[in-house]
């Protein structure tokens, strides 16, 4: 008697599937995720190993996620990197309100970016969860990009200049580059949810019909 084939490999990776459904708009969520499941299973049945099919599915999901987050990731990375570049090449003259203008720029640009991320993503998808995910993912990936830019700046400019190195250590150094983004996560989430709620409210009614 032939043992029944384990049904598990016929299911695409659960986390990837959940990510895909998070970023897809309500109108196309079911049809697009269905298409991908159908093609995934077709590839599984065609091949001897399930790894290429899983890899294909993961690549497709990564593509959808990247399409959803790239613009706000670029905004986050640009705002943080710009601040690092200005701090490196135009150091602050010590004084009572020395950092006020720069802090205000960083704070308000972040508020605008995360509110917009939540708003635009929910407006496109019809889901508050998409707004939250897009803002948080843009925050994480944008900061990783900015930290990479910061590393280039550090090794090419700051590490070669004692005064700049001291200024860098005094302003928090590498510890701050990692800890501030983590501390900001709850604030990013709140801003994203506020933006997403507005986006969801102003969205057009659902389209598409079942024939």
């Amino acid at each position: 008697m032939t043992p029944a084939r384990d049904p598990e490999p016929f299911e695409p990776p659960l986390l990837a599937r959940m990510l895909l459904e998070t970023v897809l708009p309500l109108e196309t969520e079911e049809s697009v995720s269905g298409d991908l499941i159908e093609e995934y299973r077709h590839r599984l049945l065609r091949g001897s190993s399930h790894r290429p099919a899983v890899f294909w599915y993961l690549r497709q999901v990564a593509g959808f996620v990247w399409r959803a987050i790239w613009m706000f990731t670029a905004f986050v990375a640009a705002a943080v990197a710009l601040r690092d570049i200005v701090d490196t090449f135009v150091p602050v003259v010590p004084g009572p309100h020395a950092y006020q203008l720069r802090s205000a720029f960083t704070t308000w640009s972040a508020v605008a970016i995360y509110l917009s991320a939540g708003f635009v993503a929910a407006l496109k998808s019809g889901k508050i969860s998409t707004g939250l995910f897009v803002a948080l993912a843009s925050h994480v990936v944008g900061h990783l990009v900015a930290i990479s830019v910061g590393a280039v700046l550090f090794f090419s400019v700051i590490a070669r200049n004692l005064a700049a190195l001291e200024e860098f250590q005094l302003s928090g150094g590498w510890g701050e580059a990692w800890s501030i983004p983590l501390m900001l996560v709850p604030i990013v989430a709140i801003l994203a949810i506020v933006g997403a709620c507005v986006g969801r409210l102003v969205r057009r009614p659902l389209t598409g019909r079942l024939t």
């Binding site: 196309t28 049809s31 269905g34 298409d35 499941i37 077709h42 593509g63 019909r209």
Partner: protein, 109 residues
Amino acid sequence: MADTLGTFEQAVLVAILRLGADGYGRRILIDVQERLGRELASGAVYATLDRLEAKGLVRSNLAPGTPQRDGRVRRYYVLTAAGVRALNESRKTAERIWRGLAWPLKGRV
């Protein structure tokens, strides 16, 4: 005058035309991949389909799913009259551009 169609948009529209009643997302993706001769990110095809629908060049209808896709609905696409006009226009433009030149091109320009 209608918007100019890009090569990718033309490939998607022609795939819908060719597939007829079988033109749903996955089949369109496969057809476009075969015609362009390379593997594509499916997100690119769905983004193009959304754009073409927003422009009024295609319209879509949902149909019940099958067990191979866990019963998830299929979205079938068909060209609108504007879509057919846009494809005709693109073909005519390409022919005007190439008129008078022997194909394939030979030697250095």
